[in-house]
Symmetry: C2
Subunit: 788 residues, 2 copies
């Protein structure tokens, strides 16, 4: 039970922050309401989302109470991030804004004026939660990710409690709906806790919410079924809602503590029933109840700015004045001789000690909380020099071995995890199970493999949930990987976009320091869909990510196992980025020694001398692993048919939205001539859509000499080689393309050109006929050739 003194303090703090929220939305001056409002105090354009602010402030205050009571670290993730004025108001009151922005936001009237003036203003503060706001680890714009990010941040932080406010609008999204399932993954022994609070104010922008129109019993059933213990708070019930909430928070804390104690004292806790608070408070609570004949409080009409003509309409101004005055803000502060604000003692009693304030929680800043990974030894893991070029190996197995060793080497610092939508084995990373297992808190059967309560591999068949957890894990300074089926990575395309926005915006914020990269690994590539088919053939994420900032996104396409090792290492060395690594999970020929692979990885583009002639007539380039195999086979064919033709082979292993190769080539594309020559024809065989390479070559002066081959949306259940035949990326097609370039250059005759083309086309027809009549040639997939 909260004391009456505590309840009084909570009410004062919420009054103050509600006042400040309203001030941010409406006022450009007179922000302390030291006199009645005048039209000229009102901003010329009123922007902001009032409706959800009071609920956010209400929860903020109650978290502060728990922090003060227990001196324990909390993060507060605000799903309804559009209610940013409430977050900002509290960050101001607790002093975190003035700490990080002492010059622009002093702890004084001028600071308050600043946060009011600049709220939702161009070159001011954004209108929703964002990295410029201390303590936030989530953009508050796109809805649906708060709960999964909260779960991710809780991992491996056993003391931490993450309170996640889930908007009832947000809760309708698919990503949020599946986030509840994370209770299957979170180990109460080794990780912290998540306390979800459903912010049921009943309305979205223009209509009721699903939760808002459900009765308590429906909500109790649904969330109990999901595995939670539901605690209700309802401002329409008789008991004071502050008391209800304090009781619910205390009870939630107790339940969390109890579960953790049991788990940490050696009990095997199966199905931990974590608490969830279903909090019903009116939309626009404490705001004007009605205006212009419209119901405002408790209705969607209070979603954004209400009574929005205060700058001109005297009645609107009167209502705003009345509303703001109702908070009695003048009773809640004084101004010291030094001009500093001093809030009411009771409010001060709710401000936690500095390091535990929500805006000062060190986990949210990157930098010093980041411990670099102890890295596996590539010399041990790589294919040695004795492995002749063309020996077969599996890129994803190599990555799995790297991860296995990394789990071993970082077992103590506990800052590495895999987040995988059910595909750790399927994507051939199973070596990691020599060192760890999959986390699972519901019953484990005797025949289950590689499962335990505290496994470091998080598996559930939800891309959205797992990517959200990875987001939470990396922005709080840890290292993670999200291996997924290439075709289904698009499910989290929007989450990747928002992650990049968070990182890009963070970089402009002085107190935010670099965080480890978010590493998306695409496997089960489009070429290898023998089991599946057309629905599983989709390289879209690559193309989509390669429209973003070149400094934030890199795509890594290692051609073989040793390059995969090097890129895995590089990806974990990277900071403040999202990397997309594309690697096959089946046997493919190996090409590079470790030393060569290191050079390849450093530059992102390399001439493979062992496969190239001096002074080439034609350049053949590849980007991707299967397409590299076809290039090598094409080289053998063309050298047999045209022994005098000189061909250079170039492998591209890195792409940014600026261009091919590492950033330096993108920013100075003429450097590519070093690889592509100054005037010869270039044929590029690419793993994904040719359009993706087209856009990256735009600034390259030699663009017109380049012909790009790639996946052109022709697919089915078939073999890698046949995928090449269907999409024009096969060895035979490449020979035709090279011959055409050679013919254009005048290096071969018309007759030679016709003969080679006819020959290759016949081979393509033969292949189709053979496969149609006899099915797949079992030799086919191993049929590559290489000799030099």
């Amino acid at each position: 039970m909260a004391t009456q003194k505590e309840i009084g303090a909570l009410k004062k703090l919420v009054r103050a922050s509600n006042f400040l929220s309203v001030a941010q939305i409406y006022l450009k001056q007179n922000v302390l309401l030291q006199r009645d409002l005048a039209h000229e105090d009102i901003k010329p354009r009123l922007l902001g989302h009032w409706g959800t602010c009071p609920g956010i402030a209400f929860v903020y205050a109650h978290i502060n109470r728990l922090i003060c009571k227990h001196n324990r670290p909390f993060l507060y993730l605000v799903g309804p991030g559009h209610g940013f004025p409430a977050v900002q108001a509290n960050l101001f009151i607790e002093g975190s804004l003035s700490h990080f922005y002492p010059d622009t936001i002093p702890y004084a009237e001028a600071g308050m004026k600043q946060i009011c003036e600049k709220f939702s203003a161009a070159y001011g503060y954004p209108s929703h939660a964002n990295p410029e706001a201390p303590g936030q680890i989530l953009e508050g714009g796109e809805l649906g990710y708060s709960l999964s990010v909260g779960y991710g941040a809780a991992l491996d932080n056993p003391d931490l409690i993450n309170v996640v406010l889930v908007g009832d609008g947000e809760s309708e999204t698919g990503p949020l709906a599946a986030s509840w399932y994370a209770n299957r993954l979170l180990d109460p022994k080794t990780s912290g806790a998540v306390l979800p609070i459903l912010h049921i104010n009943g309305y979205k922008i223009s209509g009721p919410t699903r939760l808002g129109r459900m009765d308590d019993e429906e909500i109790r059933m649904e969330f109990t079924g999901l595995g939670y213990e539901v605690l209700f708070v309802d401002d329409e019930k008789e008991e004071d809602v502050y008391e209800q909430m304090a009781t619910a928070m205390d009870r939630a804390y107790e339940i969390i503590n109890d579960i953790q104690k049991r788990a940490r004292s050696g009990e095997d806790v199966c199905k931990p029933k974590w608490p969830v608070i279903a909090m019903r408070t009116a939309k626009g609570w404490t705001g004007t109840k009605e205006a212009d004949g419209k119901k405002l409080e408790g209705n969607c009409d209070s979603h954004q700015v209400i009574i929005n003509n205060c700058a001109k309409d005297p009645e609107h101004l009167r209502l705003l004045n009345e509303w703001m005055a109702s908070y009695g803000f003048d009773e809640l502060y004084s101004i010291g001789e030094d001009g500093k604000l001093e809030f009411d003692k009771e409010i001060q009693s709710l401000i936690p000690r500095e390091d535990l304030r929500i805006g000062r929680q060190i986990l949210s800043y990157g930098g010093e909380v980041v411990r670099p990974l102890n890295k596996p030894n590539l010399d041990e893991l790589s294919y040695g020099a004795e492995t002749a070029r063309g020996q077969r190996g599996v890129s994803m197995n190599k990555m799995g071995e790297w991860m296995r060793d990394a789990f071993r080497l970082n077992a103590e610092q506990k800052n590495l995890r895999i987040f995988s939508p059910d595909e750790t084995y399927s994507n051939q990373l199973q070596a990691v199970f020599e060192e760890t297992s999959r986390a699972w808190q519901w019953p484990i059967k005797e025949w289950d493999n590689d499962m335990s309560r505290d496994g470091r591999v998080m598996e559930l068949l939800s891309e959205n949930l797992l990517f959200g957890m990875l987001h939470g894990y990396t922005v709080t300074g840890r290292h993670g990987m999200f291996p997924t089926y290439e075709a289904f990575a698009q499910v989290v395309s929007s989450m990747c976009d928002q992650y990049c926005k968070y990182v890009y915006a963070s970089q402009g914020v002085p107190f935010r320091k670099p965080v480890p990269s978010c590493n998306v690994v695409l496997s089960s590539l489009l070429e290898r869909q023998d089991h599946n088919g057309y629905s599983h053939q989709n390289p879209s994420l690559l193309g989509a990510m390669l429209e973003k900032h070149p400094t934030i996104i890199s795509a890594y396409l290692p051609a073989d196992g040793n390059s995969t090792l090097c890129y895995t290492e590089k990806a974990f060395d990277d900071r403040d980025k999202l990397n997309v690594i594309v690697a096959g999970k089946k046997e493919l020929p190996q090409w590079l020694t470790l030393e060569e692979a290191r050079k390849q990885t450093a530059e992102g583009i390399m001439t493979w001398d062992f496969a190239s002639d001096e002074n080439p007539d034609v350049v053949l380039a590849s980007c991707g692993d299967y397409v590299t195999q076809e290039c090598m086979a094409a080289l053998v064919i063309i050298r047999e048919l045209l022994p005098k033709l000189k061909v250079r082979f170039v492998n591209i292993s890195e792409l940014t939205s600026d261009g091919v190769g590492s950033l330096k080539y993108g920013q100075n594309p003429t450097l590519l001539d070093e690889f592509f020559t100054e005037d010869k024809g270039v044929v590029i065989n690419y793993h994904g859509y040719p359009n993706t390479i087209h856009k990256l070559l735009f600034n390259y002066p030699g663009i017109k000499r380049c012909r790009v081959k790639g996946y052109v949306e022709e697919g089915s259940t078939t073999t890698p080689f046949d995928m090449g035949v269907r999409n024009g990326t096969s060895r035979y097609h490449l020979v035709i393309d090279m011959a055409y370039k050679a013919f254009q250059q005048g290096v071969i005759t018309d007759a030679q050109h016709v003969e080679i083309t006819t020959d290759m086309l016949q081979k393509l027809v033969d292949h189709r006929n053979y496969i149609k009549e006899f099915g797949v040639d079992p030799k086919e997939i191993t049929d590559w050739v290489w000799s030099r």
Copy 2:
């Protein structure tokens, strides 16, 4: 209660289809098992997903029983589409395959051999549900969409019952998790029903499922809370599982009928509690129980091919032989004198009359079930000739008026709906509420606006749910629109990809006829995020879709209201496509008369004569509405500064992955010279990422003359004009670019070039300084200029 005869028939049908499923996975010959299996009967590569097949077949049989009993139309949506052999087996047994493929799949042993031989074979049948399979309206590859698609297909088909089998793996995805909420939207009076069946076989590819490790009480609570009535079927319970299932299906049918009867007899049914069946049957049910020391049945190890060395290992072969023989398939058929198969009479008793067979359900084929929309009169809706160029109007309002009239004109044929994630008003389509309202089956309060049980606008804050419903609605022949915030359209990027795959694959299938296009409308554009900010600035869906097949995807970017009207009409005329329409929701200048807009829409690119000079020195082009405004302002400035410079203005309003303008320009890009001249500099101002235009211009010979401006990921809460300043798409930037092109062409002097550039840069600096010091100039957003 099912009769014992019915139960017997069900068991026989399932035995037959299980046998045929196994045959498809393993056998290339001896497919009737007329002798013991030999190694050479086995396919060289074993592919397929056995584990889920028996459950799919079990449900198929039980649906057949209901169809036969009630003669009512059913669709069967198979979420675990990877269990395709079970679907294919039943399509064969019921005769639908032989109906549609009489030559290749006769109703005879040869037909069975064909489906076995070609299953999962290159140029054969894909390995998961797909459009080549009759009756299917969903690709069975990417998981998560079965339930929402089922709900969409049920709309406006009051007799139809859609049985949706939801895999317990699939049920972990975000999109599926939110699909349960569709019970808020489906009106039992005017629409059909959805019967979800949870296929709880307990395992995914390598581990247990969430549902599989829950007890019945947890499941009952969760789904009761979600608003459903849960019926349990469990093969570990004592009662025969066939009897349990028949009882559950009968009960479900009864509940559905009861709800519909009540609603259709005038009762206002609030919170209809539709049935859901939680069906527990073992993974790999009826398969080999154990091999090589591994538990197979009832474990994840039966997910794909089990005992997979039958071609060589005698023990594996023996197990397979024993397993297949266990179905006693030889007792279930005979072969007539004509060589035709005849199945056991009891099996035949479960095959519905032709038009009601699952594989023959006409709703799944497009073509004749498609009724074209009665179209609104553009002459009435458009801005008339009297509207001077430059008058202001709102594109989305025009679209709303078009939709309003379309709702009126198609009120009787009931084949038009809007699917909107909470944004019908926000995206300025509110005119539609003059004719219809939003659907809502939970309580409606007196102060709610535009809500009713049977509204034609489907709103819930889940992009995934609503896009899935649109998918189901259009592929069953109706017309729909998905208006959404541009920035969050990426949430359904993967669903768009899969929709396109479905349509593209359908086009190769003779019995499938065209269906109306899926129309994605992007509004709340990146330029207008005064309320929101950086998280809401993301044109990625445009770029992502423009990598796909040019015949399947068009992007329409009308520059004003009249073009928006024309493109809305065109979008609904289109067939077998996904259109992305980009249109602003705030006031912008109008440019084109209706006649001009029609010409613009026909070609997708047009020179605006009224804004162009003859024999231009420089070409300025726009693609998008805000960027067009900036171009027009830039023209005024440059004409003032350089009155002798001749500029042509071109508007691009259509993009495909082949290029700019309609498909014809993409396929023959030299035609663009008509607009871009043969040798002059071209400056293109684009709404989205410049990279998107870069890739589309790759095949255009004049590519090097083009400079593309667009969104380069710089954003925040700010004004449209300031977005232009940040991203280099403002009028001042355009003047600089045009001057540079003119200087390059030698049309202006070095001194002029320097002067103009300096002048414009100063204006940009002034703007920034002004906005930083004084905030937004309230005049700014109306500050455009146009005169001629």
